[in-house]
């Protein structure tokens, strides 16, 4: 069921994303590759400027598509088509989140590739060297990577949560405002939690070390490994809560009125 | 059968009346198969339930019978059909006579007028 929903959700939404990605890739990857690394007439700063705009546009476009796509599924009749299907609300929501997530990944990969191409990667850095560097710091990079992916999904679910709560007829009049406030609030909250926690990691580590005759963990280990998993877990918990919250709201509001 | 039913009265009664007319005038002969509820409901645009009710009533009145799961047929009981004919005729006569009476025509005049009309036609 999830696969089917995912497939159809893709069919329903691929056009805007697809076009934007293709245009972006054409402008920032294909063109530079083919038109040489030494554009004689255009200055470097101009190119950087253009590149920056492209990046900004694609990020904005992606955000708008995600927002609009989800709003449509709540507001338009064809959107509610998905909810008439004999599947649980959580499954339908999950399919939508995953589709948005996939597109987000695609966009970031494109951004990475574009940056790589346009920044004329430092000579001598081969793929193997990058890989080696990665594995050396894996215990930090992996939770970081996972944390980032989770953050992306959380971002999407948070967005959906805010849009859904803005749909409450009860809050209809201030709905949009509530949505935006909630969004900012949770973002701020997440950042706060992370920063606070990171700042206190040092103290925590020292405290733990003092409490035992033999340190449970060395400072080094603590900093470079396990501790980074805590924000990841926190993120996962927030994600879970937001997802559950959105489902609950959807259960109430698959009305269009 | 294509009929304009008046929704101002029960449709099943009108349907029955139409059927009876067709049986009496031999458009439907004894032993003829009747359309299925479904087909009739579609061609008339009327709820199957209504059709079914009409059929059941006519079965009760002995005008139709069901052959197991093979469909419905007009009764082969010619006596019953004759009875229906007579019923029909009497109903029409009653209607006619009442109308004449309401218009102030006397009973004796009615018979004369009928005779005249028939002689004029034939």
């Amino acid at each position: 069921m999830l696969k089917k929903l995912f497939g159809w959700e893709m069919r329903f939404t691929y056009k805007p994303y697809g076009i934007t990605c293709v245009v972006f890739a054409a402008l920032t990857i294909v063109l530079p590759l083919f038109f040489g690394k030494h554009p004689s007439r255009l200055s470097a700063s101009f190119l950087v400027f253009v590149f920056g705009i492209c990046v900004g546009l694609i990020l904005m476009a992606t955000f708008v598509f995600m927002l609009q796509g989800y709003r449509n599924s709540l507001r338009t009749p064809e959107g509610s088509l998905f909810f008439t299907v004999p599947a649980r609300t959580s499954t339908v929501l999950l399919a939508k989140v995953l589709v948005a997530f996939v597109w987000l990944i695609v966009v970031f990969v494109l951004l990475l590739a574009a940056s790589f191409v346009n920044a004329h990667a430092p000579v001598g850095t081969s793929l193997q060297e990058i890989q080696a560097a990665f594995w050396e710091h894996a215990n930090v990079l992996i939770p970081l990577l996972l944390g980032t992916l989770l953050a992306m999904i959380t971002f999407i679910v948070l967005l959906y949560f805010c849009i859904t709560s803005a749909h409450f007829s009860f809050w209809r009049k201030v709905g949009g405002l509530i949505g935006i406030l909630a969004f900012c609030g949770v973002c701020a909250g997440e950042i706060f939690i992370l920063v606070y926690f990171e700042m206190n990691m040092a103290n925590l580590g020292q405290y733990l070390n003092r409490a035992h005759t033999q340190p449970l963990v060395t400072m080094n280990q603590f900093f470079t490994g396990t501790a980074l998993w805590v924000p990841v877990i926190l993120m996962a918990v927030i994600l879970g809560l937001l997802f559950w919250g959105t489902c609950q709201l959807l259960e109430q509001t698959t009305a269009r009125r | 059968m294509s009929l304009e039913f008046k929704s101002s009265g029960p449709i099943y009664l009108q349907l029955m009346q139409e059927f009876k007319k067709e049986i009496v005038s031999e458009i439907r002969k004894p032993g003829d198969k009747i359309e299925s509820v479904r087909d009739l409901s579609r061609s008339l645009g009327v709820s199957p339930g209504t059709i079914q009710r009409a059929f059941l009533e006519m079965e009760r009145e002995g005008l139709l019978y069901t052959k197991r799961t093979n469909g419905r047929y007009v009764t082969q009981d010619t006596a019953r059909i004759d009875q229906l004919r007579r019923q029909f005729m009497m109903e029409m006569v009653a209607d006619f006579v009442e109308q004449m009476r309401e218009s102030g025509v006397k009973d004796t005049e009615i018979l004369d007028n009928v005779q005249q009309y028939l002689e004029g036609v034939s």
């Binding site: 649980r88 698959t254 | 008046k6 008339l44 709820s47 199957p48 339930g49």
Partner: protein, 221 residues
């Protein structure tokens, strides 16, 4: 089926036996669409109890209920064929062959895009899709409003032709005259409450008038 609701529908209690074609009649805003959306499990947040085919409504009942919304629910970019595939994929009781036969019979081109079709044609497509499911309950919300008379005939015929004895159809409309012949019974809904529910023929016999006239009487003012 029994039902009791709130707000837009106030203390509504309704029981509909299986196998009937029921007309849900009332002026705009009476709560017809709300009731149908509740029964199709699209609308939640109501209080009370609703039972369909012996089962409390929920995800499982969605599989037994085929819902035709009052507004078009197919995306403009979809081709008719895509819509058929959608239904086929998600509804186990969808008879694809039957749907395609019906579409052909109604001269509906499977390759045409929904966005390019007239309102009446889209309605026809939706009716075909909805009725091609072998459901226990069909909920049709205003299938003939805003549709030209010719299309109306076709739609009614499609409904009647797909009707099975052991399934129930609830059809809501405010155009009573055009549809009243296909009903077995009607429910009059006024401001969220049932003001009348009876078999159609009984009502005609009692009041010696059409349901349309009765409707106008009941909802005058």
């Amino acid at each position: 089926m029994r039902f009791a609701g709130k707000e837009v529908l106030k203390g509504l209690s309704l029981r509909i036996p299986r196998g009937q074609i029921v007309g849900l009649l009332g002026p705009n805003g009476a709560g017809k669409t709300t009731l149908l959306r509740i029964l199709s499990v699209l609308l939640k947040g109501w209080h009370g109890q609703a039972v369909v085919a012996g089962q409390e409504i929920g995800q499982a009942s969605k599989a037994k209920v085929s819902y035709l919304p009052d507004k078009p629910s197919l995306a403009n970019w979809m081709r008719v064929q895509d819509a058929v595939h959608f239904y086929a994929e998600f509804f186990a009781d969808f008879d694809q062959a039957k749907a395609q036969t019906l579409l052909t019979r109604l001269h509906l081109d499977a390759q045409s895009k929904i966005g390019g079709l007239s309102k009446g044609t889209v309605e026809k497509v939706q009716v075909v899709l909805t009725m091609s499911r072998k459901a226990e309950l069909y909920l049709l919300d205003e299938p003939i409003s805003g549709v030209d008379p010719a299309a109306r005939e076709v739609i009614m015929d499609t409904i009647l032709s797909q009707y099975e004895e052991d399934s129930t159809i609830i059809l809501s409309t405010h155009m009573v005259q055009e549809v009243e012949r296909i009903f077995d019974s009607v429910v009059f809904l006024k401001e969220g409450q049932v003001v009348l529910q009876d078999a159609v023929e009984t009502l005609r016999e009692e009041h010696q008038e059409s349901i349309d006239d009765l409707f106008k009487e009941v909802f005058r003012c």
